[in-house]
């Protein structure tokens, strides 16, 4: 039989339910491959021993009614996991062991999932290349010294390298979709309020959203069904009727109206992205969709708006890391001195940069000009989408303006790095669901993704379009295991 680790989640579940593979066998395969893949630096914390133990327990008393029966899963290290180190990619939480579990991960364990380990990410999810992590760069399994995207870079790398059957990331401005696009995988950011934020280390509360990352669309639908839930512990969680995403998944999208926003043709966009988009439109037509040109007039303001709102919230969210209660504490002469030393040593450059930006835009005298104005523009961006959705059911765009870049290529140029989020950020600002699916390759053979944006709470349509187009695109990652010796 084929290698267990190359199976899709759906196939793995099927094999486990048919008792062809045990949970323990599956776990061993992923652990074995993970151990041979240390060069990718995808893991921050391994939970291998415990995973083997729990998989045996599952096999001794299997429950095949669960949605993830005995499935080992590694998760982004932004989710707090009970008694398992949770770092958020930061030195300041280097030795932090939560006594609680995030709702999203708890949902996974409740359905039979087993924690494989915690995956590397940009520090506090601030980054687009995983280069801001205190725990070092992550390699993209597609090619040596290529970034896996970010901030869920450990997740995308581990997924593409078959170190985990599926994974979960968080997406504040593109942190699921962009790394998925860079690694030839699928990444879905659900509607804001779908997945509880309880127990997820906060970056920007009004934008953060957890979501599935998987090798194909069907797997994302299975995982979304598990992790999306109404949670009273998160006041921004929304109590709406959630679909049975996987069983309602269909390739029949005949007559669905898909909008093409003119404003996403940004200046200097490489031809290969333009061509990918054109191809995507043809695929969508082939699937029976109706293509309609739309306008999202405030698109060009999305990135500056995002880089005011997100740092503002982050500057406040990260104030709790002060050395007083948990995490790193550097000794100081006085309270203020202790704060300064702890935060200077605990936070990396990008985090400090964003705290500074956030503090600035909220400060007295600048609040109205920056934060308040950004909030107003955010409403306009939302309104753009609302109006577009009077005409169409979903929107098709490229996921990123480029393919994966080399490690170090942009790390000294924050603005160029930020520009990478240009197509994903508006979706977070508007709180909409968006998926990135692999749709082609650039001249270097690096994967490129297309993004499908849906109406609020309409993950099902987004998944259905993606599922349908995926079949037509028929993309397959070509992973050579170059990192193994």
């Amino acid at each position: 039989m084929t290698d267990i680790t190359s199976l899709s989640l759906f196939e793995l579940i099927k094999n486990i339910k048919e008792k062809k593979i045990s949970s323990n066998e599956a776990s061993k395969s992923f652990i074995d491959r993970s151990q041979k893949s240390k060069k990718l630096n995808a893991y921050v914390t391994e939970n291998f021993e415990n995973c083997l133990k729990l998989s045996k327990e599952f096999d001794n008393k299997p429950n095949y009614d669960l949605k993830l029966p005995g499935i080992p899963i590694a998760v982004k290290d932004l989710f707090c996991t009970n008694e398992v180190r949770t770092t958020a990619g930061s030195n300041i939480l280097n030795n932090f062991f939560p006594s609680y579990e995030s709702t999203v991960t708890q949902n996974i364990w409740n359905e039979g999932g087993i924690l494989l380990g915690k995956l590397n990410c940009d520090e506090f999810a601030m980054g687009s290349s995983n280069e801001t992590s205190f725990f070092g760069n992550v390699q993209n399994p597609i090619a040596k010294d290529l970034v896996p995207g970010g901030s869920s870079g450990g997740s995308s790398s581990a997924l593409a390298a078959n170190l985990t059957p599926v994974t979960i990331g968080t997406d504040t401005g593109g942190s699921i979709r962009q790394p998925a696009s860079f690694t030839g995988t699928v990444g879905l950011k659900p509607t804001y309020g779908s997945c509880s934020r309880y127990g997820i280390v906060a970056f920007a509360s009004s934008l953060d959203q957890a979501g599935p990352m998987s090798k194909d669309v069907k797997d994302s639908s299975i995982l979304l069904e598990v992790i999306s839930s109404f949670d009273k512990k998160d006041s921004t969680s929304i109590d709406f009727k959630r679909n049975n995403y996987s069983s309602e998944l269909t390739r029949n999208i005949k007559g669905i109206k898909i909008g093409i926003p003119n404003e996403y043709r940004v200046e200097g966009m490489p031809d290969e992205i333009e061509n990918l988009w054109k191809k995507g439109i043809e695929y969508a037509k082939d699937c029976g969709a109706e293509i309609i040109d739309i306008s999202l007039p405030h698109t060009s303001y999305a990135l500056p708006t995002y880089y005011i709102v997100a740092p503002a919230e982050a500057s406040s969210n990260l104030a709790r890391y002060d050395g007083v209660k948990y995490g790193l504490r550097s000794s100081g002469e006085s309270l203020i001195d202790m704060y300064e030393k702890t935060r200077s040593e605990g936070f990396g450059e990008e985090v400090k940069r964003r705290i500074m930006i956030g503090t600035y835009v909220l400060s007295s005298g600048y609040y109205d000009a920056y934060y308040l104005k950004a909030q107003k523009v955010r409403q306009l961006i939302k309104k753009d989408f609302d109006e577009a959705y009077n005409k169409v059911d979903a929107i098709l765009t490229p996921s990123t303006p480029s393919s994966a870049f080399k490690i170090g290529e942009k790390s000294n140029d924050p603005v160029s790095m930020y520009l990478n989020d240009i197509f994903t950020v508006p979706v977070n600002l508007a709180g909409l669901p968006g998926i990135s699916i692999p749709a082609g390759r650039d001249k270097n053979n690096y994967p490129l993704g297309l993004q499908i944006i849906g109406k609020p709470f309409d993950e099902q349509t987004v998944l259905n379009i993606a599922y349908s187009m995926e079949e037509k695109i028929n993309y397959k990652n070509n992973i050579t295991d170059w990192w193994m010796e």
Binding site: F79, R197, A202, T236, K325, L335, Y339, T359, Y367
Partner: protein
Amino acid sequence: MDGIMSKNNSEYLIERNDNIYEVVVGLEVHAQVTSNSKLFSSSSTKFGAEPNTQVSLVDAAFPGMLPVINEYCVKQAIKTGIGLKAKINNKSVFDRKNYFYADLPQGYQISQYKYPIVGEGNVILDMPGGQKQVGIERLHLEQDAGKSIHDIDPSNTLVDLNRSGVALMEIVSKPDLRSPDEVNAYIKKLRSIMRYLGTCDGNMQEGSLRADVNVSVRIKGSTELGTRCEIKNVNSIKFMQMAIIYEANRQVDLIEEGEEIDQETRLFDTKKNETRSMRSKEDAHDYRYFPDPDLLPLEITDEFIDQLKSEIPELPDDKKKRFIDEFKISPYEATILVSDIDTAKYFEEVVAKMGKNRDMKLAVNWITGELFALLNNKNIEIAHSPISAKNLAKLINLIKNGTISGKIAKTIFELMMDGDIDPQIIVEEKGLKQQSDPKALEALIDKIINDNREKAIEYKQGKEKLFGFFVGQAMKASGGKANPQLINEILKKKL
């Protein structure tokens, strides 16, 4: 505004070199919401627990923890707003007030900045010169911080987070107060209203009620406000009054010396009885307020407000009015009786238990006289009075129906407090019943007149003072039990 007398003789004036200054005070009162759990977590709020035993992951701001509003605290704030005759806002917003301190685990306090839950209202004060209305600017909900303890460990500051996240109402008055006396009356009235509503216990010793005091001075008659100083976190009425007097005089001195007053935050040193500069306006914190993205705006429907309005008990002003109308007592007496909810309850119970033949005068006198003296002496709250309202009512009725005299009643009162004994039982056991049998009293008086013939003659000749002598003799002979009214009547007849 109807019927509010603006005249008041309780203003505090300072005279310097022919200039007369008045003091202008506004208060920001922090009142702890009466609630079993905190504003955004389910931890207990019980006072006096071991340090750090009432702290949830939310209170200690662990990563990924989120606040969830406690509906009960919201109801309490709305009720208080209704009690302050204030506008309840259908939409209010929780903001983050950002600053670093060891006892502020989140690095920000969740408060309400631009959009408070309660808007403008007012409070009526009963001052010696008449009533005075004090404007309420707003009331908002916010979290309390923890407590830094500097005096246990010589080299470290210790932090107790039990208080962290406890719900506070910040009640901001308009700068309508003009003297320490008015501040006293204002705090007491606020406290009274909140105790009636059950929204704050008003216990200043436990820190349930504290205030930031804004003080400025101006030449009397001027309509412009002077530069104010804010005296932070004063926790007793006495200290507020002392701080105001010190601060007002300090400001007048500065003005008289031709200096400017800096707008600044000051601290009151209770030991030295002076205020000290804490930070100037330039050093003021930039709190970087912004709406808390973890919380949705608080939306309150009119139905919800109406429901709470229907649950509001009779408040002191209305109760006072009713006491005057219904019980025909004086406004002064009514003010005293309604000022504290437990006193009002006690009084009403006495009235109810007195039954049809009630004597309001006696009831008021006994409660504000003997009972208050007793409670004062023993330092007991009226809610824990050793003499129940029921038994005090019985005692009053015994006086009213002539069973005992007022003097005997005082003796009985003393005996009652030892276990709340029924006065009727004491009267019977001790044989203290008043002698009201005219025949027996006539015999007794005949004997006295007989024994004091010369004095009786002197009385008849016009020495009227001697009447008291005979009354005294009669009371003495009866062991104090003779009905004084009957004695008077019989003596007049016989002499």
